[in-house]
């Protein structure tokens, strides 16, 4: 069949591809160039340096520590978000009085900028005048103020909890879409056969929701891995770098210390890491789907 060249799929996606390439590949190329150059703190290139910047990143003990913390941060938030969002989506999918209002309340945090949310939390977590301590004291759960942000052992879990909270709206939206795609007659048939709620959930809802869970995992992983505002607004990675993840460490390298070469090398490494794990996950998930 002779198709017009204008309906060739490659031609049709070309404009979108060019735009994406311009926005993504061009900066990537620039960062690649900086990462193998001697560069001053104003981003001006001063000759080729080979792998020196990469070696400096690997030699920095903060890199490994931040990498490990990034893994905990990402897995903690993504897993926590999925675990909370599924029941929330199931409830919001039921027909009940005030559902519209409940949906709005769940979605509301999405409308607030992440930085604002993080700053409000910083105030709420303040040891001396924070809302959280007053609430806990008022409820009689604690008898003296907790200095939430003073040490990593309390600060980091709280930061992960905030991360989960702000990821729920987006994830719930995906799941609500997934749930509405499941045909009602499946549930009716299962109920006629005498299946209970838990059985229905395990054998119908969960398997049919899986593609949506996969999407939620991949999208959240990408966002959370690179999420900067929560940690920066509450602790700036401190005290003593104990809540630094790769992206806050990257910011310090680049903008506080002016080591743009090392920062470029690190951001390339982060890009490669994220790409690698996303591809692995997508392949695993897809294989499961085909089987």
């Amino acid at each position: 069949m002779n198709r017009s060249i204008f309906t060739n799929p490659y031609v049709l996606i070309a404009p979108a591809f060019m735009l994406a390439a311009f926005i993504i590949l061009w900066p990537l190329f620039q960062i690649g160039e900086i990462s193998i150059s001697n560069v001053n703190r104003f981003g001006q290139l001063r000759g080729f340096s080979g792998p020196e910047n990469f070696m400096a990143v690997f030699a920095d003990p903060q890199f490994l520590a931040s990498l490990w913390r990034t893994v905990i941060w990402t897995v903690g938030i993504v897993a926590g978000t999925i675990l909370v969002s599924i029941p929330v989506a199931l409830i919001l999918n039921e027909d009940f009085y005030g559902r519209g209002l409940a949906r709005v309340i769940i979605m509301l945090p999405w409308a607030v900028s992440l930085t604002m949310t993080a700053i409000v939390w910083r105030w709420a977590l303040s040891g001396e005048s924070g809302m959280l301590n007053s609430a806990l004291l008022g409820l009689g759960l604690i008898d003296q103020n907790i200095q939430w942000l003073a040490q990593a052992s309390t600060a980091f879990p709280v930061q992960i909890a905030i991360g989960i909270l702000v990821s729920i709206p987006f994830t719930t939206t995906i799941f609500l879409g997934g749930l509405s795609a499941i045909p009602d007659d499946l549930y009716e048939a299962a109920r006629l056969e005498g299946a209970n709620g838990w059985q229905i959930f395990l054998t119908i809802t969960l398997p049919l929701l899986r593609p949506f869970i996969n999407i939620a995992v991949v999208m959240n992983t990408i966002t959370v891995f690179n999420s900067f505002p929560i940690i920066w607004a509450t602790t700036q990675g401190g005290p003593a770098n104990s809540t630094d993840i790769l992206v806050t460490y990257l910011y310090k390298l680049g903008f506080n210390f002016g080591k743009l070469g090392e920062a470029s090398a690190l951001s390339l490494l982060m890009f490669a890491l994220l790409l690698f794990f996303t591809i692995i996950y997508v392949r695993l998930a897809m294989r499961g789907e085909r089987a």
Binding site: F42, G43, Q147, L149, P239, A240, F257
Partner: protein, 413 residues
Amino acid sequence: MSLHWLKVAAATGVAAVALASAAYAQTVRVTVAEYSSKTGPYFEKAATEFEAANPGTDVQIEVVPWDVLQQKLTTDISGGANADLAIIGTRWLIDYVSQGIAAPLDDYITDDFRGRFIDTFLSPSVMDGKTYGLPIAASARAMYYNKALFEQAGITAPPATWDELKAAAEKIKALGGDNYGFGLQGKEIETDVYFYYALWSQGGNLIEEDGTSGLDTEAAYKAAQIYKDLIDQGLTEPGVTSLNREDVQNLFKQGRIGMMITAPFLSNQIKEEAPDLQYGVAAIPAGPNGDRGTYGVTDSIIMFENSQNKDTAWKFMDYLFTTEKRAEFDENEGFLPVNAQEAAMPLFADNADLKAFTDLLPSARFAPVIAGWEEMAAATSNALQRIYLGEGEIQASLDQAAAEINGIIEANQ
């Protein structure tokens, strides 16, 4: 022949364009740091006044919050989109000078102009005998104390030494309630500086004469011990590593902190937010040998080497540093006068709070002019936070920070 003709035409064209732009578009862009909500309006007003006095000029002010100033300047410079003038922290100036970003101002500075300044504040912007910036903002640190708490606790005079400070803190703690003796900052910008007050009082230095870090010295260990004791004995607010400078200042404004060391602008904030607070300003406590040091800070306004309108840009700088404009700015922001005539004005000369700061100026020390200082400050802050939290021994943590700093010094040589 035709090539020659083309060249002439091109040259004429360029000259014509240059002339035209000289005649019509004397645009000067200025990047200013937002010190308070009054900063933007102040510079906008100065720009309008300047444009009215100098027809054909156009001054564009870009106000940038302090936290992102360094990032914004870096991005602008790497993209070649920087303004003509910019405010920068004077401690960053060495990078701007060594990379040829900042233009020397000596061709513009007359003796008369230089004579306007108090020398202490102009000198940090002088490098290799050339002046690269003018002190747009100057500040020092002194000790604020809460007079009401002092009275209740029966303390008659502000402490002159760290031993007296500790004794005073104990008395304030003994009052009970939600009051804390000494406000200790343990987070974010100037966490390291808060430690230097104690370090200098013990006779220590940030950088020793041999060019290595002064953190692995007896003076530094003793200084850290002073703060650690205060923390361990409950004489500071709890959770010091969760409070930045503003957080401690807020506790002071609430009247819950006996003593804290900070900048003159706290007086302005108290005037507006807690006018009933009874407070005084005194010298930073001295060490056993009478050593004492306050931290002097200036921010400089610099001219970029690639500016196309240097003459107009200089004229605007000159205007900003007239006595009247300086007085207006320093009164707004609560900075110290950098201009001798301005300092003599009753507004500043008769201000008791400011006097405590200006009295300390002879012992003012500035951040060392050394490449990579921000990274060294971060290494120091990290070590201090480990010490404050009890996660690291004093000597081991400071020795480690000193080694890091020495490594940075070596790498930058």
